[in-house]
């Protein structure tokens, strides 16, 4: 069946397209205009904005850690709704099903879960499979696990065995890439460390955070995995940590690397309160190092819950829990901390965090390397994205928000002086084109022939919050799934993963390791095609 979207303003920065025209869809893909054929179904989208479906590179939507958050905070949606956040006051509103529905309504069609625990990949994949409509993928965590650390003991490089182990882990969990969270820091926490810097060493293993990241970065590059290591740096959330972030960026050897939620590292220590915007310093480094990409991790005011494999940081953050309860889960590898948090507009620190995030977006010279995220739910629930798009695209809106914040925020941030407003094309880059490119999902994020027909249609309006909260139409793989901001058809998406090769000797070694130290059989946490729907899993080819 040939579908025609007629007369919309098509915004596709991948193809430098921003013009009124038609789009054609057949068999779930975008096709070139077929001369002499009449469309079977025509949607008149005259006056509307037509974009590719949005892609979220970093959103905690599934797995043990997220469900631990749900166990601690079933009241989260009710608390958020009571403050006016656009969410139903039901515990189910942050369950798997509602996650897919709400994302689709906003025009999102692919979302990446960035923190799968290797030994809990079965749960993560089962949860991802329970999310309707959107395509998903998971990043698997290494860097605080004893197998990796043993290979790097005393400054060894890890060599082929590390490469094999990374490849085996990616395949075993059906992940699309590697996540590194406070490399070595969680392991140090097991030895009762309460801080961990880039050049601190993990006790007993004698390996630094820097060395862990470098070794894993090299392994991923050698394996040809399209998505570079996805790194959560040390010292998250601490005043003055911009120096750590810059040092980490400078240590990246020119190899591809992605830094997650860098807003949380954009902190200087100037000013009376010893807390200031480090965004200019951070963005100078980001702008200069073209091998690096980042996502922002924007903060929004209101109730949320922070969920992180950075257990050391979460342990420290427990004192600020609101409501006053927290979970520190000392699990294998990284472990997890879950700390409820309410970002308050009257708080100097929270208001500055909010401003720093926006500064980072607006200081980016190359939007292809500065991607959108709130680190859902850590900076804000993903339902807040439309408000953030509004802030990025409308200086007046930013000024209105700034007026409500503590006055001294203006003194230590640069936001008030930034006139830039993102264009629709730039928004399409940071939410579509750039994420697809970063993830190696070349069949989406754009509207060229051959792309998966993931399409979002919006009504252009001054109020960008309203515009992006409810898409007029959303097509997922060529099927109409949303009309007038509501899901009209529930489909089930695919899960993307990589399949790098490895020497099969690694299996024997890993089996022996788990047998001895855990009394466990790694086959228990191996994800197979059979565990879910047929055709659920799709492979992303390695880089040649």
């Amino acid at each position: 069946m040939l579908i025609q979207l007629k007369g919309g303003r098509v915004i596709d920065p991948v193809h430098n397209r921003d013009a009124v025209g038609d789009l054609f869809v057949e068999d779930g893909r975008i096709v070139a205009k077929l001369e002499g054929r009449k469309a079977d179904e025509v949607y008149d989208v005259g006056g509307k904005i037509v974009m590719a479906g949005a892609i979220d590179v970093h959103s905690h939507i599934a797995g043990t850690n997220v469900t631990l958050g749900r166990q601690l905070m079933p009241e989260l949606p009710a608390l958020a709704a009571a403050e006016g956040q656009p969410i139903l006051a039901s515990p189910a509103a942050w369950g798997s099903y509602a996650t897919g529905i709400r994302y689709a309504e906003m025009g999102y069609t692919t979302v990446i879960e960035p923190a799968m625990i290797p030994t809990h990949a079965i749960e993560a994949q089962a949860e991802l499979a329970a999310i309707p409509i959107i395509d998903t993928a998971g990043l698997v965590i290494l860097g605080n696990d004893d197998y990796t650390l043993e290979l790097l003991r005393g400054g060894r490089a890890g060599g082929d065995e590390l490469k094999d182990y990374v490849a085996w882990t990616l395949q075993h969990s059906k992940a699309m890439g590697l996540k590194i969270i406070n490399a070595g820091g969680s392991e140090a926490f097991k030895f009762n460390a309460r801080t961990f810097d880039l050049d601190d060493e993990v006790l007993d293993y004698g390996v630094s955070s820097r060395a862990i990241v470098e070794s894993l970065q090299k392994a991923v590059a050698d394996l040809g995995v399209p998505h570079p290591p996805h790194v959560h740096c040390n010292n998250l959330g601490i005043a003055g940590n911009v120096e750590t972030a810059v040092a980490t960026i400078e240590a990246t050897q020119g190899l591809p690397i992605h830094f997650a939620h860098i807003q949380f590292y954009g902190y200087g220590d100037a000013g009376e309160k010893g807390f200031s915007s480090g965004a200019p310093r951070l963005m100078e480094a980001v702008n200069k190092h073209k091998n690096a990409t980042v996502d922002v991790g924007q903060v929004m005011f209101g109730q949320t819950v922070t969920i992180s494999g950075d257990i050391l940081r979460q342990f420290d953050g427990r004192a600020a829990a609101s409501p006053k309860k927290w979970v520190i889960n000392q699990g294998d590898g990284n472990g997890t901390g879950v700390v409820p948090y309410n970002y308050r507009s009257k708080s100097f620190v929270n208001a500055l965090q909010w401003a720093i995030g926006l500064e980072i977006f607006l200081m980016a010279e190359d939007p292809w390397r500065v991607l959108f995220s709130t680190d859902h739910p850590n900076g804000a629930l993903f339902i807040r994205y439309p408000e953030i798009f509004h802030l990025l695209m409308d200086r007046g809106e930013r000024d209105r928000w700034l007026d409500d914040l503590p006055k001294d925020v203006r003194e230590v941030s640069n936001l008030a002086g930034i006139a830039r407003e993102l264009t629709l094309s730039e928004l399409a880059i940071i939410t579509r084109g750039a994420p697809a490119r970063l993830l190696g999902l070349t069949d989406r994020g754009h509207l060229g022939p051959g792309a998966v027909a993931d399409i979002a249609v919006y009504t252009e309006q001054k109020n960008k919050t309203a515009m992006f909260a409810a898409a007029d139409l959303v097509f997922k793989s060529g099927k109409l799934v949303v009309r007038d901001g509501k899901v009209v058809r529930v489909t089930w998406g695919r899960c993307y993963h990589v399949k790098p090769g490895f020497d099969t000797q690694i299996k024997r070694r890993v089996n022996a390791f788990y047998d001895r130290y855990y009394g466990a059989d790694p086959s228990w946490f191996g994800v197979s095609d059979a565990m879910t729907r047929p055709d659920r899993f799709a492979t992303i080819p390695n880089l040649s």
Binding site: V66, R70, P74, E75, S90, A126, G519
Partner: protein, 354 residues
Amino acid sequence: MKSALERAADLLGRARFPVIGGLFTDIRGAEAALALAERLGGVVDHAASTGLMRASRVMRETGATPASFGEVRNRADTVVVVGQGPLRRDADLLAKLLPAKPGLPRPGDNKRETILLGTGKVALPKQVRTTAVESKLSLPEMVALLAASVREGRFDLRDKALRVKIEAAAERLRKSAFAVFVYDPAELEEPVLHTVLEIVRHLVVTTRAAILSVAAPGNGDGVNLCSTWTCGLPVRTSFARAVPENDVWLYETGRLIESGEADALVWIDALDGTAPARPKGAPAVVLSSKPGRAGKDDVVIDVGCAVVDHDAALYLAPISGIGMVKAANANDSKPSVAAVLNEIAKVLDAKDAA
């Protein structure tokens, strides 16, 4: 004559408020049960949910400080077994948690040791150094005394011998590099669980400490996690209203059947091992992998046994999470719980459409 699936669908289609209980099943069975409960506006509960419910309420009120089985096995220097539950559930638990072979690098240089608090007489592996704290006092009292002593607070205790033991245990805990309390939440009431957590929260200010809650039988933890990611709430949840509701007392299977509030039961028992006791008093659809006697109003459907007849995802203690176990002799002569529940839902859909 109608098929069992049709009779099951008839029974459930007529029911005003059905409960899906037992739930001794794998993750796919749990997913299907949750979907059916949502569709019917019924309740989901698990036959071993008593401990899960206590733990989940305590978690919602104040949080938790769990450690994984692997972390305890490799790194704990002090393992406190609280009550009789853990070693009754698994007599070899201490041998698994404190194996003779050295584990991964661990903090501190203490010799590994276990403290038995009200466990009664138990057989212990040779390699484990043990301090047993026994008394005529109740377990909650002993836990409270230990909590006070860990904080170096004052407490009244005439039994001198017990005081010495409690104080020695508290001293050891303060000096531990990683102390872990092992318990079965089905044995401890909520205030006791809170007290243990408070000890851990006190210790972690200066050192490392955690709890290890023994997993519930019948894949209870797996079913409970599945319920949580599906609807945001643990089991004992009702889907009768627009928003799911969890209530430990209100939505317990036995009470719902006994009181007559639930007018139909779906009883699921499809795992190897001891069968949970099924509450009687409502017409039931029974999905069982074991032979049993059926009541005259029951619809009994033979199903395969997870792990025995088919591969299954279940909560596995050694990885403190859900894993996939292959069936040694897989056979598809009997359908899985998930397949039967999904078929019942299809029959209901067809009836609705007709």
